[in-house]
């Protein structure tokens, strides 16, 4: 786990999806600010988690990093090269180094292809392992690596359960030995007993292959289990980022505190403890609140929060938080957050 140098540097990344009106003559009437100025680094060999609720921009960030979407502005530097400007062969070469696993193992595998040809597809795309027997052997090795029976090479996705399909997705993603693996909600479609199988597999492969992992999820417990560092997103911005231990132990942003407070605890003796409920819903990203975007739901909001946008600043407790009035330990205890230490 050497967190020496960044593999990926994301700087001021912005993605606005235009909102248009009119059928023949379209004109832009606004924009959904899905990702609105996000900067972070992913160190080689580490696992960075991104958590947040629906619509916070975590999946859009991943898709921008993979160049599955074109950024409105900002840059994504992969090993020093800004990939938002690449095209053609150079882009293809970079894509070999970064692969993705998706949430839904049912729709991310082509139902008309065998598992063998799905896992072999990255080789076909990049013109590798041209010898048929050799390619088949590589695919079978990959299937074995993700804990599947290599004999199932000729089976179709529908013959497998959700957890097995997710393993196929993982085998495909690691086929080209990428440096970076982006996992977008890889276990949220799976049953609880199966989730742990896939989480353990990802951890195991990371150790064995030296992967750098960007792990996106809405489940705070899963992210804590998997990640060295964690970024919390809200309405297209990172509101807090830092090492998992510090972020879960002493969250400084009121939103991080509220998220942790809202997680149900599998322990009936602790139920109905003090818990701070956030009021209302997440505002529309097409028309985010002024100043701090969280001020409409924040229990600590003051006038300054409506006017002045807070920047990510070091909190002296390990994390960087974007808040004018960060949480104190007393406030945190009042929210019923059971901190790890």
């Amino acid at each position: 786990m050497s967190a020496s140098e960044p593999l990926v540097q994301v700087r001021d990344l912005v993605k606005h999806f235009p909102l248009t009106r009119g059928i023949v003559i379209q004109h832009q009437v606004g924009a959904v600010k899905a990702v609105d100025g996000v900067s972070f680094e992913v160190m080689a060999g580490e696992t960075l988690g991104i958590v947040g609720e629906t619509g916070c921009g975590k999946s859009t960030t991943a898709r921008l990093m993979m160049r599955l979407l074109e950024a409105t502005s900002g840059e994504v530097r992969f090993q020093g090269t800004d990939i938002t400007k690449l095209s053609g062969g150079a882009l293809k070469a970079v894509r070999r180094e970064m692969q993705m696993i998706f949430q839904d193992p049912y729709s991310s595998l082509n139902p008309r292809k065998t598992v063998g040809s799905i896992v072999a597809e990255p080789f076909a795309i990049h013109g590798l392992e041209k010898d048929r027997a050799q390619r088949k052997r590589r695919v079978q090795e990959l299937l074995e690596l993700v804990g599947m029976n290599p004999e199932h090479y000729n089976r179709y996705p529908h013959e497998f359960s959700g957890g097995q399909r997710q393993r196929v997705g993982v085998a495909r993603a690691i086929a080209l030995s990428p440096k970076l693996l982006i996992a977008d909600e890889p276990v949220s479609a799976l049953d609880v007993s199966i989730q742990a199988q896939v989480l353990n597999l990802l951890r195991d492969l990371q150790h064995r292959l030296g992967l750098t992992l960007l792990f996106i999820a809405h489940d705070l417990s899963v992210v804590r289990h998997m990640c060295d560092r964690v970024a919390v997103m809200y309405l297209g911005k990172i509101v807090e980022i830092g090492p998992g231990e510090e972020l879960y132990g002493f969250p400084r942003h009121p939103y991080t505190g509220a998220l942790l407070s809202a997680v149900p605890v599998a322990d009936p003796s602790r139920r109905r403890a003090t818990r701070r409920l956030l009021s209302g819903d997440v505002p529309s990203p097409a028309n985010p609140p002024s100043g701090c975007r969280f001020h409409t739901r924040c229990p600590k909001a003051q006038e300054r929060c409506t006017l002045e946008e807070p920047l990510l600043t070091a909190q002296g407790t390990g994390t960087h938080a974007a808040c004018h009035f960060p949480l104190t330990r007393e406030e945190l205890a009042g929210m019923g957050v059971r901190s790890a230490r």
Partner: protein, 354 residues
């Protein structure tokens, strides 16, 4: 809690469906009781029969050609023997249900108010105007601000959490004695989930209804339920008070569930101990104890003998269907608790039996 017997008593309920591939034994002989004002949590994974058992209580599996046997006694009357017309008078009136996906449970073409008025007038002979004022009152009850204006809006103008509030308002329109909540917060974000759980708790306190809470989330069920039934392959494999399920679980499947979820407390480096394999097909179920192919403690005879749900001890109301002896279970669980480390995973060939 109740003076005159349980509100709901399910006795040896069996529900199966005939399909092209064979008979699906969705629910296979489950029995439980629920007192007035109490909450039973039913936990299980996809295909464990938790939803089918509750849909049957609502009389919603009849039309699908299900083969149903057993008894569902609600206030002393057997719902399974009632004609559809009587069932219709109970459904939405004495027993109401909320579902996982609030968007597909609401009609997109009709205003929220119109849908609430329909729910009220289906069981009450009241004027349009008084049903409307009831609709406004209900929206206020579930914590929707400015209800007088919001009844004029359409479902798409509501967020996911607000829609689930509307579904709850609709379910409570006739002050049911029993509310069946089938994964009501699974589609919601965690902060909204906390709001909905708090709302359900408050309303239960105010209205005194009993709740059957179906979920796959052990955290949610720990917050909500007085008693918990753990289902696997169409059966209840363990049932006890919420405290006992978490402090002294008896069934290896329950151990597996508890040890395969990461928590916010506890050491992070701890390996998760997943349950190997995947849930069985309900057409060709494993012989003997249905859990034996995935069980780390299975003995050869467990593939033959089918364990009944039996009391663990005389003093607690705790039942388990397991062939291990009480002493063995006690020892294994205390070892698991003490080790807090990874338990050697039994080797089940991956991909087998798919």
């Amino acid at each position: 809690m109740s003076a005159a017997g349980p509100l709901l008593a399910v006795e040896d309920l069996r529900v199966s469906f005939s399909t092209e591939d064979g008979t699906v034994h969705a629910v296979d002989g489950i029995s439980y009781e629920l007192a007035q004002g109490a909450t039973l949590g039913i936990v299980g994974e996809s295909g464990s029969g938790k939803s089918v058992s509750s849909l049957t209580t609502m009389g919603l599996t009849r039309a699908q050609g299900a083969d149903i046997s057993g008894r569902i006694l609600f206030g002393g009357r057997d719902l399974l023997s009632l004609p559809e017309s009587d069932m219709r008078a109970i459904r939405g009136n004495d027993i109401a249900m909320i579902f996982q996906d609030p968007l597909s449970s609401l009609h997109p073409f009709f205003k929220i108010g119109a849908q609430l008025i329909e729910a009220v007038r289906a069981h009450r002979d009241v004027s349009e105007a008084s049903a409307r004022s009831r609709a406004v009152e209900l929206l206020g009850l579930v914590g929707i601000s400015d209800p007088r204006r919001r009844v004029e809006e359409f479902p798409h103008e509501f967020s996911g959490g607000m829609r689930q509030r509307v579904m709850i308002a609709m379910a409570l329109a006739n002050e049911p004695k029993l509310l069946i909540a089938d994964e009501p917060t699974t589609a919601l974000d965690v902060t909204v989930q906390a709001q909905i759980l708090a709302l359900l708790e408050r309303l239960q306190g105010e209205l005194g209804m009993a709740i059957v809470f179906i979920t796959h989330d052990l955290g949610v069920v720990a917050e909500m339920a007085d008693r918990i039934a753990v289902m696997y392959a169409g059966r209840i494999v363990e049932m006890a008070s919420a405290e006992l399920i978490f402090s002294a679980p008896q069934h290896p499947y329950t151990w597996g569930l508890l040890r395969s979820i990461p928590t916010l407390a506890g050491p992070r480096e701890q390996e998760l101990a997943p349950i190997p394999g995947s849930p069985p097909s309900l057409i060709k179920r494993p012989s003997g104890c249905h859990f034996h192919p995935r069980c780390a403690y299975s003995q050869p005879e467990h593939a033959v003998i089918d364990p009944p749900l039996e009391p663990v001890s005389l003093k607690d109301d705790h039942q388990v269907a397991c062939l291990l002896s009480a002493e063995e279970r006690q020892q294994i669980w205390s070892e698991l608790e003490a080790s807090q480390g990874p338990r050697p995973a039994p080797t089940v060939p991956q991909g087998a039996g798919e």
